[in-house]
Protein backbone atom coordinates (compact mmCIF):
# COMPACT_ATOMS: atom_id res chain seq x y z
CA UNK A 1 0.00 0.00 0.00
CA UNK A 2 1.78 3.09 -1.21
CA UNK A 3 0.92 6.65 -0.48
CA UNK A 4 -0.87 7.95 -3.50
CA UNK A 5 0.60 11.15 -4.89
CA UNK A 6 -2.67 12.05 -6.45
CA UNK A 7 -4.39 12.23 -3.09
CA UNK A 8 -1.58 14.21 -1.50
CA UNK A 9 -1.79 16.74 -4.33
CA UNK A 10 -5.49 17.20 -4.05
CA UNK A 11 -5.09 17.41 -0.29
CA UNK A 12 -2.52 20.17 -0.66
CA UNK A 13 -4.74 22.13 -2.99
CA UNK A 14 -7.61 22.10 -0.61
CA UNK A 15 -6.03 22.90 2.74
CA UNK A 16 -9.07 24.89 3.69
CA UNK A 17 -11.53 22.58 1.99
CA UNK A 18 -12.09 18.96 2.72
CA UNK A 19 -8.46 17.93 3.17
CA UNK A 20 -9.19 15.37 5.86
CA UNK A 21 -12.07 14.14 3.72
CA UNK A 22 -9.73 13.54 0.79
CA UNK A 23 -7.45 11.57 3.06
CA UNK A 24 -10.40 9.52 4.26
CA UNK A 25 -11.53 8.86 0.69
CA UNK A 26 -8.07 7.52 -0.10
CA UNK A 27 -8.13 5.54 3.16
CA UNK A 28 -11.47 3.99 2.36
CA UNK A 29 -10.19 3.03 -1.06
CA UNK A 30 -7.65 0.93 0.85
CA UNK A 31 -4.64 3.22 1.39
CA UNK A 32 -3.66 2.31 4.92
CA UNK A 33 -0.67 4.68 5.08
CA UNK A 34 -2.90 7.68 4.44
CA UNK A 35 -5.45 6.19 6.77
CA UNK A 36 -2.90 6.10 9.60
CA UNK A 37 -2.10 9.75 8.91
CA UNK A 38 -5.77 10.71 8.93
CA UNK A 39 -6.38 8.80 12.16
CA UNK A 40 -3.54 10.63 13.88
CA UNK A 41 -5.05 13.92 12.88
CA UNK A 42 -8.48 12.76 14.03
CA UNK A 43 -6.96 11.67 17.34
CA UNK A 44 -5.56 15.18 17.73
CA UNK A 45 -8.94 16.75 17.12
CA UNK A 46 -10.67 14.36 19.49
CA UNK A 47 -8.02 15.07 22.16
CA UNK A 48 -8.53 18.83 21.86
CA UNK A 49 -12.30 18.49 22.02
CA UNK A 50 -12.17 16.05 24.93
CA UNK A 51 -9.69 18.15 26.88
CA UNK A 52 -11.92 21.18 26.46
CA UNK A 53 -14.96 19.30 27.64
CA UNK A 54 -13.17 17.72 30.60
CA UNK A 55 -11.67 20.95 31.84
CA UNK A 56 -14.89 22.89 31.38
CA UNK A 57 -16.53 20.25 33.55
CA UNK A 58 -13.72 20.63 36.09
CA UNK A 59 -12.68 17.01 35.72
CA UNK A 60 -9.29 15.38 35.74
CA UNK A 61 -7.58 14.63 32.44
CA UNK A 62 -6.74 11.11 33.49
CA UNK A 63 -9.44 9.62 31.25
CA UNK A 64 -8.45 11.78 28.29
CA UNK A 65 -6.63 9.13 26.28
CA UNK A 66 -9.32 6.55 26.94
CA UNK A 67 -11.85 8.89 25.42
CA UNK A 68 -9.59 9.61 22.45
CA UNK A 69 -9.09 5.90 21.81
CA UNK A 70 -12.76 5.11 22.14
CA UNK A 71 -13.55 7.89 19.68
CA UNK A 72 -10.97 6.57 17.21
CA UNK A 73 -12.51 3.12 17.41
CA UNK A 74 -15.93 4.60 16.73
CA UNK A 75 -14.66 6.59 13.74
CA UNK A 76 -13.07 3.43 12.42
CA UNK A 77 -16.02 1.11 12.88
CA UNK A 78 -18.64 3.63 11.71
CA UNK A 79 -16.73 5.29 8.89
CA UNK A 80 -18.93 3.69 6.25
CA UNK A 81 -21.89 5.73 7.53
CA UNK A 82 -20.08 8.75 6.08
CA UNK A 83 -21.38 9.60 2.62
CA UNK A 84 -18.16 10.12 0.67
CA UNK A 85 -19.81 12.58 -1.69
CA UNK A 86 -20.19 14.96 1.25
CA UNK A 87 -17.60 16.84 3.34
CA UNK A 88 -16.02 14.77 6.10
CA UNK A 89 -15.72 17.40 8.82
CA UNK A 90 -19.41 17.62 9.81
CA UNK A 91 -19.54 13.83 10.08
CA UNK A 92 -16.42 13.76 12.22
CA UNK A 93 -17.71 16.55 14.45
CA UNK A 94 -20.97 14.65 15.00
CA UNK A 95 -19.16 11.41 15.87
CA UNK A 96 -16.69 13.10 18.23
CA UNK A 97 -19.48 14.97 19.97
CA UNK A 98 -21.61 11.84 20.35
CA UNK A 99 -18.71 9.82 21.74
CA UNK A 100 -17.64 12.56 24.14
CA UNK A 101 -21.11 12.93 25.58
CA UNK A 102 -21.55 9.18 25.67
CA UNK A 103 -18.28 8.42 27.44
CA UNK A 104 -18.60 11.29 29.89
CA UNK A 105 -22.11 10.17 30.80
CA UNK A 106 -20.83 6.68 31.46
CA UNK A 107 -17.84 7.87 33.44
CA UNK A 108 -19.81 10.19 35.68
CA UNK A 109 -18.83 8.48 38.89
CA UNK A 110 -19.27 10.99 41.67
CA UNK A 111 -16.71 13.55 42.76
CA UNK A 112 -12.98 13.20 42.52
CA UNK A 113 -11.29 13.16 45.96
CA UNK A 114 -8.73 15.91 46.71
CA UNK A 115 -5.97 13.32 47.13
CA UNK A 116 -6.46 12.20 43.56
CA UNK A 117 -6.30 15.75 42.32
CA UNK A 118 -2.93 16.22 44.01
CA UNK A 119 -1.68 13.17 42.18
CA UNK A 120 -2.88 14.46 38.88
CA UNK A 121 -1.54 18.00 39.12
CA UNK A 122 2.19 17.33 38.67
CA UNK A 123 1.47 15.00 35.79
CA UNK A 124 -0.15 17.79 33.85
CA UNK A 125 3.17 19.49 33.19
CA UNK A 126 4.18 16.52 31.09
CA UNK A 127 1.98 14.87 28.52
CA UNK A 128 -0.79 12.83 30.10
CA UNK A 129 -0.32 9.11 29.84
CA UNK A 130 -1.60 7.82 26.55
CA UNK A 131 -1.98 4.25 27.70
CA UNK A 132 -5.72 3.88 27.38
CA UNK A 133 -8.40 1.45 28.30
CA UNK A 134 -7.83 -0.54 25.15
CA UNK A 135 -4.89 -2.16 26.93
CA UNK A 136 -7.07 -3.28 29.83
CA UNK A 137 -9.79 -4.48 27.47
CA UNK A 138 -7.28 -6.37 25.32
CA UNK A 139 -6.90 -9.09 27.92
CA UNK A 140 -10.55 -10.04 27.43
CA UNK A 141 -9.97 -11.08 23.80
CA UNK A 142 -9.23 -14.67 22.94
CA UNK A 143 -5.60 -15.67 22.72
CA UNK A 144 -5.26 -15.65 18.95
CA UNK A 145 -6.90 -12.23 18.65
CA UNK A 146 -4.59 -10.89 21.36
CA UNK A 147 -1.56 -12.21 19.53
CA UNK A 148 -2.70 -10.60 16.28
CA UNK A 149 -3.55 -7.29 17.90
CA UNK A 150 -0.25 -7.09 19.78
CA UNK A 151 1.83 -8.08 16.78
CA UNK A 152 0.26 -5.45 14.56
CA UNK A 153 -0.11 -2.64 17.07
CA UNK A 154 2.99 -2.95 19.20
CA UNK A 155 5.44 -4.67 16.91
CA UNK A 156 4.21 -2.86 13.81
CA UNK A 157 3.95 -6.00 11.70
CA UNK A 158 1.68 -6.45 8.71
CA UNK A 159 -1.29 -8.79 8.50
CA UNK A 160 0.61 -10.88 5.96
CA UNK A 161 3.60 -11.34 8.30
CA UNK A 162 1.42 -12.18 11.25
CA UNK A 163 -0.43 -14.69 9.11
CA UNK A 164 2.81 -16.40 8.13
CA UNK A 165 3.83 -16.74 11.79
CA UNK A 166 0.50 -18.10 12.90
CA UNK A 167 -0.04 -20.29 9.85
CA UNK A 168 -3.12 -18.30 8.86
CA UNK A 169 -4.10 -16.73 5.56
CA UNK A 170 -3.73 -12.97 5.43
CA UNK A 171 -7.47 -12.62 4.86
CA UNK A 172 -8.19 -14.68 7.97
CA UNK A 173 -5.88 -12.42 9.99
CA UNK A 174 -7.78 -9.38 8.73
CA UNK A 175 -11.13 -10.90 9.60
CA UNK A 176 -9.86 -11.82 13.08
CA UNK A 177 -8.51 -8.29 13.52
CA UNK A 178 -11.79 -6.73 12.47
CA UNK A 179 -13.74 -8.94 14.87
CA UNK A 180 -11.30 -8.07 17.64
CA UNK A 181 -11.82 -4.35 17.03
CA UNK A 182 -15.59 -4.74 17.15
CA UNK A 183 -15.29 -6.71 20.38
CA UNK A 184 -13.01 -4.08 21.87
CA UNK A 185 -15.48 -1.32 21.06
CA UNK A 186 -18.34 -3.27 22.63
CA UNK A 187 -16.39 -4.18 25.77
CA UNK A 188 -15.30 -0.58 26.05
CA UNK A 189 -18.88 0.57 26.08
CA UNK A 190 -20.14 -2.03 28.48
CA UNK A 191 -17.09 -2.28 30.73
CA UNK A 192 -17.36 1.10 32.38
CA UNK A 193 -20.62 1.79 34.07
Amino acid sequence: MTISDEHIDSAAQKTRGDRLGDMMRAAMAGDSAIYAQALKEIAGRARTAARGMLSRGGRSLEDLEDIVQETLLAVHLKRDTWDQSRPFEPWLAAVVRYKLIDTLRRRRMGHVPIDDLADVLPAQTSAPSDVGDVERTLTTLDERQQTIVRAIAMEGRSAAEVGRDLGMKEGAVRVALHRALKTLATRFRKGQS
Binding site: M1, A27, M28, G30, D31, S32, A33, Y35, A36, L39, K40, A43, E65, V68, Q69, L72, L73, A74, H76, L77, K78, D80, T81, W82, D83, R86, P90, W91, A94, V95, R97, Y98, D102, D130, V131, G132, V134, E135, L138, V149, I152, A153, M154, G156, S158, A159, R174, L177, H178, L181, A185, R189
Partner: protein, 212 residues
Protein backbone atom coordinates in the same frame (compact mmCIF):
# COMPACT_ATOMS: atom_id res chain seq x y z
CA UNK B 1 -1.78 0.44 24.39
CA UNK B 2 -0.64 3.83 23.20
CA UNK B 3 -2.90 5.78 20.88
CA UNK B 4 -0.29 5.53 18.12
CA UNK B 5 -0.41 1.74 18.44
CA UNK B 6 -4.16 1.84 18.11
CA UNK B 7 -3.77 3.93 14.96
CA UNK B 8 -1.53 1.21 13.49
CA UNK B 9 -4.08 -1.38 14.42
CA UNK B 10 -6.95 0.48 12.80
CA UNK B 11 -4.89 1.26 9.71
CA UNK B 12 -4.21 -2.46 9.30
CA UNK B 13 -7.99 -2.90 9.14
CA UNK B 14 -8.37 -0.22 6.44
CA UNK B 15 -9.21 -2.48 3.58
CA UNK B 16 -12.62 -3.92 4.20
CA UNK B 17 -15.21 -4.10 1.54
CA UNK B 18 -18.63 -4.41 3.11
CA UNK B 19 -22.10 -3.55 1.93
CA UNK B 20 -23.21 0.01 2.72
CA UNK B 21 -24.95 0.15 6.12
CA UNK B 22 -28.44 0.95 4.75
CA UNK B 23 -28.24 -1.98 2.35
CA UNK B 24 -27.24 -4.28 5.21
CA UNK B 25 -30.14 -2.99 7.31
CA UNK B 26 -32.60 -3.51 4.46
CA UNK B 27 -31.36 -7.05 3.92
CA UNK B 28 -32.10 -7.91 7.54
CA UNK B 29 -35.47 -6.18 7.37
CA UNK B 30 -36.29 -8.34 4.34
CA UNK B 31 -35.46 -11.44 6.40
CA UNK B 32 -37.78 -10.20 9.16
CA UNK B 33 -40.48 -9.55 6.57
CA UNK B 34 -40.14 -13.10 5.26
CA UNK B 35 -40.56 -14.45 8.78
CA UNK B 36 -43.67 -12.30 9.29
CA UNK B 37 -45.15 -13.49 5.99
CA UNK B 38 -44.60 -17.08 7.08
CA UNK B 39 -46.39 -16.45 10.39
CA UNK B 40 -49.18 -14.74 8.45
CA UNK B 41 -49.62 -17.64 6.03
CA UNK B 42 -49.66 -20.22 8.81
CA UNK B 43 -51.71 -18.32 11.37
CA UNK B 44 -53.93 -16.02 9.30
CA UNK B 45 -54.14 -16.22 5.52
CA UNK B 46 -55.98 -13.80 3.24
CA UNK B 47 -59.68 -13.19 3.88
CA UNK B 48 -62.11 -15.53 2.06
CA UNK B 49 -63.80 -12.87 -0.06
CA UNK B 50 -60.55 -11.41 -1.38
CA UNK B 51 -61.53 -11.96 -5.02
CA UNK B 52 -64.62 -9.69 -4.75
CA UNK B 53 -64.00 -6.36 -6.53
CA UNK B 54 -65.28 -4.29 -3.59
CA UNK B 55 -63.03 -6.21 -1.23
CA UNK B 56 -60.05 -5.60 -3.45
CA UNK B 57 -60.72 -1.87 -3.52
CA UNK B 58 -61.20 -1.71 0.25
CA UNK B 59 -58.07 -3.76 0.91
CA UNK B 60 -56.12 -1.65 -1.57
CA UNK B 61 -57.15 1.46 0.34
CA UNK B 62 -56.03 -0.04 3.66
CA UNK B 63 -52.71 -1.08 2.17
CA UNK B 64 -52.21 2.36 0.65
CA UNK B 65 -52.12 3.63 4.24
CA UNK B 66 -50.14 0.82 5.87
CA UNK B 67 -47.69 0.73 2.95
CA UNK B 68 -46.94 4.41 3.46
CA UNK B 69 -46.42 3.70 7.17
CA UNK B 70 -43.76 1.16 6.20
CA UNK B 71 -42.14 3.57 3.75
CA UNK B 72 -42.04 6.42 6.26
CA UNK B 73 -40.55 4.23 8.99
CA UNK B 74 -37.97 2.57 6.77
CA UNK B 75 -36.95 5.81 5.11
CA UNK B 76 -36.61 7.66 8.43
CA UNK B 77 -34.74 4.87 10.22
CA UNK B 78 -32.28 4.45 7.33
CA UNK B 79 -31.63 8.19 7.25
CA UNK B 80 -30.85 8.19 10.96
CA UNK B 81 -28.09 5.62 10.46
CA UNK B 82 -25.91 8.61 9.63
CA UNK B 83 -24.80 10.80 12.54
CA UNK B 84 -25.30 13.94 10.44
CA UNK B 85 -28.90 13.15 9.49
CA UNK B 86 -31.54 15.70 10.31
CA UNK B 87 -34.21 14.48 12.69
CA UNK B 88 -36.79 16.72 11.04
CA UNK B 89 -36.15 15.18 7.63
CA UNK B 90 -36.38 11.71 9.11
CA UNK B 91 -39.76 12.52 10.66
CA UNK B 92 -41.13 14.43 7.68
CA UNK B 93 -42.06 11.24 5.86
CA UNK B 94 -44.64 10.41 8.51
CA UNK B 95 -46.83 13.09 6.94
CA UNK B 96 -47.47 10.78 3.97
CA UNK B 97 -49.42 8.04 5.81
CA UNK B 98 -51.15 10.69 7.92
CA UNK B 99 -52.39 12.48 4.81
CA UNK B 100 -53.41 9.22 3.20
CA UNK B 101 -55.45 8.29 6.27
CA UNK B 102 -57.11 11.71 6.29
CA UNK B 103 -57.98 11.24 2.62
CA UNK B 104 -59.46 7.78 3.20
CA UNK B 105 -61.54 9.06 6.11
CA UNK B 106 -62.80 11.95 3.95
CA UNK B 107 -63.79 9.51 1.18
CA UNK B 108 -65.60 7.32 3.67
CA UNK B 109 -67.57 10.27 5.04
CA UNK B 110 -68.43 11.34 1.50
CA UNK B 111 -69.68 7.87 0.59
CA UNK B 112 -71.34 6.73 3.81
CA UNK B 113 -72.03 9.95 5.71
CA UNK B 114 -71.60 10.56 9.42
CA UNK B 115 -74.42 8.26 10.53
CA UNK B 116 -73.00 5.11 12.09
CA UNK B 117 -69.45 6.47 12.00
CA UNK B 118 -68.68 5.56 15.59
CA UNK B 119 -70.00 2.03 15.10
CA UNK B 120 -67.77 1.64 12.05
CA UNK B 121 -64.79 2.96 13.98
CA UNK B 122 -65.29 0.58 16.89
CA UNK B 123 -66.08 -2.36 14.61
CA UNK B 124 -66.13 -5.86 15.99
CA UNK B 125 -62.52 -7.02 16.17
CA UNK B 126 -60.48 -4.13 17.59
CA UNK B 127 -58.52 -6.00 20.27
CA UNK B 128 -57.72 -8.84 17.87
CA UNK B 129 -56.48 -6.25 15.39
CA UNK B 130 -54.11 -4.68 17.93
CA UNK B 131 -52.77 -8.05 19.03
CA UNK B 132 -52.28 -9.23 15.43
CA UNK B 133 -50.63 -6.06 14.15
CA UNK B 134 -48.27 -6.10 17.13
CA UNK B 135 -47.57 -9.83 16.93
CA UNK B 136 -46.86 -9.82 13.19
CA UNK B 137 -44.43 -6.94 13.58
CA UNK B 138 -42.16 -8.50 16.20
CA UNK B 139 -39.90 -10.43 13.81
CA UNK B 140 -39.47 -7.46 11.43
CA UNK B 141 -38.72 -5.19 14.40
CA UNK B 142 -36.05 -7.48 15.80
CA UNK B 143 -34.47 -7.97 12.39
CA UNK B 144 -34.55 -4.30 11.43
CA UNK B 145 -33.05 -3.22 14.75
CA UNK B 146 -30.29 -5.78 14.29
CA UNK B 147 -29.60 -4.33 10.84
CA UNK B 148 -29.64 -0.76 12.11
CA UNK B 149 -26.79 -1.61 14.47
CA UNK B 150 -24.50 -1.02 11.52
CA UNK B 151 -25.46 2.64 11.71
CA UNK B 152 -24.30 5.50 13.91
CA UNK B 153 -27.48 7.27 15.01
CA UNK B 154 -26.99 10.18 17.37
CA UNK B 155 -30.55 9.69 18.56
CA UNK B 156 -30.92 5.93 19.09
CA UNK B 157 -34.35 6.40 20.67
CA UNK B 158 -35.78 8.08 17.59
CA UNK B 159 -34.07 5.58 15.28
CA UNK B 160 -35.61 2.76 17.31
CA UNK B 161 -39.02 4.42 17.21
CA UNK B 162 -38.89 4.73 13.42
CA UNK B 163 -37.84 1.09 13.17
CA UNK B 164 -40.98 0.42 15.20
CA UNK B 165 -43.06 2.44 12.73
CA UNK B 166 -41.66 0.38 9.86
CA UNK B 167 -42.22 -2.94 11.62
CA UNK B 168 -45.68 -1.87 12.80
CA UNK B 169 -46.48 -0.96 9.19
CA UNK B 170 -45.48 -4.44 8.08
CA UNK B 171 -47.67 -6.04 10.74
CA UNK B 172 -50.55 -3.75 9.74
CA UNK B 173 -50.15 -4.47 6.02
CA UNK B 174 -50.22 -8.23 6.54
CA UNK B 175 -53.14 -8.11 8.92
CA UNK B 176 -55.03 -5.84 6.49
CA UNK B 177 -55.08 -8.79 4.05
CA UNK B 178 -56.87 -10.90 6.64
CA UNK B 179 -59.07 -8.43 8.47
CA UNK B 180 -62.65 -7.97 7.20
CA UNK B 181 -63.14 -4.50 8.69
CA UNK B 182 -62.98 -2.01 5.81
CA UNK B 183 -63.70 1.30 7.54
CA UNK B 184 -60.99 3.94 7.37
CA UNK B 185 -62.03 4.94 10.89
CA UNK B 186 -61.39 1.41 12.14
CA UNK B 187 -58.08 1.50 10.30
CA UNK B 188 -57.01 4.74 11.92
CA UNK B 189 -58.12 3.71 15.38
CA UNK B 190 -57.14 0.06 15.88
CA UNK B 191 -54.35 -0.35 13.35
CA UNK B 192 -53.13 3.02 14.58
CA UNK B 193 -52.98 1.80 18.18
CA UNK B 194 -51.12 -1.33 17.03
CA UNK B 195 -48.53 0.68 15.11
CA UNK B 196 -48.11 3.10 18.02
CA UNK B 197 -47.50 0.22 20.43
CA UNK B 198 -44.77 -1.19 18.17
CA UNK B 199 -43.33 2.31 17.83
CA UNK B 200 -43.20 2.61 21.61
CA UNK B 201 -41.46 -0.76 21.82
CA UNK B 202 -38.94 0.39 19.22
CA UNK B 203 -38.21 3.59 21.10
CA UNK B 204 -37.72 1.57 24.28
CA UNK B 205 -35.30 -0.81 22.57
CA UNK B 206 -33.48 1.84 20.53
CA UNK B 207 -31.24 3.22 23.29
CA UNK B 208 -30.53 -0.33 24.42
CA UNK B 209 -29.47 -1.85 21.12
CA UNK B 210 -28.52 1.06 18.84
CA UNK B 211 -25.97 2.85 21.03
CA UNK B 212 -22.47 2.71 19.67
Amino acid sequence: MRTDDLVLLLAADARRVTSPPPVAALALLAAGLAAAILVFLIGYGARDDMSEPTTMVATGAKIAFTGLVILAGVRGALLLMSPVASRTTALMWLAAPALMLAFLVAVEFALLGAVGASARAIGGSGPKCIASVTGLSLAPLAAFLAGLRRGAPIDPRLAGALAGVAAGGIGATLYALHCIEDSALFLGLWYGIGVILVTALGSYLGPRVLRW
